[in-house]
Symmetry: C2
């Protein structure tokens, strides 16, 4: 079958690899109908750590083609969301809704046991605990929004939840990528009164405003911190959704959060320590977040999409076929595309 393989910085290729098959009784095999390219895929594309020959992609919707003999809930023919992490659905962490800490789980598209979703097909470990059957056909018009439940919408929601967004609160979203924009949607639906987007790209700013952002700060560093403080009566925001993961974005986040507020991190951290442990302490600031248990959030977010209350699929501004996935990487890396949908 054909799949996306990362070889080195800037060198991502579509290649023929071994067919995905069922190798364990708890596996399912899905035919990928929609996938996408993630901001985090750009880290290895830009020379970050990756396994040579790593199959890429961790967000998908597919049709179940076959299931192992121990799979009970998932059936061939179902249209399913594939969350970016697989999980058994029954360990102590899954039972608490933290599927990304599953004792028998792992991640797609990062090398290792599981393959990547930017491909024709994929083996799904722990299919019963991982896949979420959808009540729609494989070409439903809502597909772009439903696809975001595999990662970016659930991740934006996790940023908002861990940053403790609540009704009437002031919120800042650091980063205007797809996750940040979904964070705006999440903050809005959780009742935030003021939503400040920190971003610099006009089309993304426009989309953020359509999603509910009330203010935009395009400055950086100390100037951004001053602007957010000026917008919040001098004290900063209660909730910061950190959707970037660089040392600079984390420093900005710590600078704009008010005393007693929370920073919800969902940008994969490219820093080794949280800066400012002392001011963070004296101001009772909370730092939380991590890989979103998107599987747990589908129950809450799916009806929102089905009933048209949120449209996270608007983050996709380009669609490619499998052969053009390398073009999609280039476009996202050049910021000529916000988020690229893949139709294998």
């Amino acid at each position: 079958m054909r799949a996306t393989v990362m070889h080195a910085a800037g060198d991502v290729r579509i290649e023929t690899v071994a067919d995905a098959t069922i190798s364990k009784p708890t596996d399912a095999l899905i035919r990928i109908t929609r996938a996408c390219i993630c901001g985090s895929d750009l880290w290895p594309y830009n020379g970050g750590p990756n396994t040579a020959g790593q199959q890429m992609g961790h967000e998908a919707i597919g049709v179940v083609e076959a299931v192992g003999r121990d799979v009970q809930r998932i059936k061939p023919g179902q249209v399913v969301i594939m969350p970016f992490a697989f999980s058994d659905g029954s360990c102590i962490f899954c039972e608490e809704g933290l599927h990304t800490a599953c004792l028998h789980g792992g991640f797609f598209g990062v090398g290792g046991e599981a393959g990547g979703a930017q491909s024709e097909a994929l083996r799904i470990p722990n299919a019963d605990g991982t896949l979420y059957p959808l009540p729609v056909g494989k070409d439903d018009a809502l597909m772009p929004s439903l696809l975001t439940l595999s990662d970016v919408m659930g991740t934006g929601h996790h940023a908002a939840v861990t940053a403790r967004v609540a009704a009437g609160h002031s919120v800042a979203v650091v980063g205007d990528g797809a996750v940040g924009l979904c964070g705006v949607i999440a903050a809005k639906r959780l009742g935030a009164e003021q939503i400040i987007l920190l971003g610099r790209h006009q089309p993304r700013i426009d989309l953020a405003k359509a999603f509910g952002a009330t203010d935009v700060v395009s400055e950086r560093g100390e100037e951004a911190i001053e602007r957010v403080r000026a917008l919040t009566g001098g004290v900063g925001v209660r909730s910061v959704l950190e959707c970037v993961g660089t040392p600079q974005s984390m420093e900005t986040s710590m600078g704009i959060v008010r005393a007693g507020g929370a920073v919800g991190r969902v940008g994969v951290p490219h820093y080794g320590a949280i800066p400012g442990a002392q001011p963070m302490f004296y101001r009772n600031v909370i730092v939380a977040g991590g890989p979103a248990p998107v599987r747990a959030y589908v129950d809450e977010l799916l009806p929102e999409i089905m009933e048209g209350r949120i449209e996270p699929g608007r983050v996709f501004d380009r669609t490619v076929d499998l052969d053009s996935v390398p073009d999609g990487y280039r476009a996202m890396n050049d910021r000529t595309a916000l988020k690229v949908l893949v139709r294998p």
Copy 2:
């Protein structure tokens, strides 16, 4: 009047200083009837930063002697708890219960505007928002326990609250000082099922067990982490009460918290950054805490003491008069005393 003054490392003296007086219309003047020495007082005593000539002490109960003309709620003759921070009781932060972030607040015993409580008398800024009148006489038998509401019991409670202790949870308390022991009390009353004390001093361990600790780990570093994991099915505890503040204690805390768990920091941090930002992220660990809004917690904790359900006053194992305060510092620094009560 006589007061405790820090001059340099190891050099704390009882001296005659200018009498405390009312200088603002919102001030009260209290006669100190009980004070104590805090673990955090040992930082300047051991050469940490302090203002030369700094008046020491931030925990007290006293009798109101006079009030400024704008003080409405507090009356002369009342026996009052003096929380370690003063606060106006009406700003946005006080209204949320975060009095230690008060827009018009500050701290006692750290130099600056307010004096120290290890003295005969003290000026209390923002008396109405700061002081908490007690329903008992100044020599009530419950005084030692009531005195802990000015800091260590409220601080242990804050550690438990910010570490999200809840019914049935596993908890670790890092540190066997007075705050850690009060953290054990707090974790117990919030319903923790397993309470692991990390400490090494037998009298304190005995007291922790009396307060509700179920397990004791006296190892340090990696060995302590392994022991806690072994006690918790290999996963670590849901809540860590970090009651020390050294880089080592923070590293241990991050090593023993389970995925999705929280570290509540109340030990004043002697480190500049939170270590392990990446494993913390991948494990969705929360770091919270800071100076406890003890003023906010009195409503909840006072009835517990009045009705005999908790006895935090048992942390005091030595009582001195004002002249003997320097002996008290020495005893706490040598660990021959756990916590020293001062009767001026």
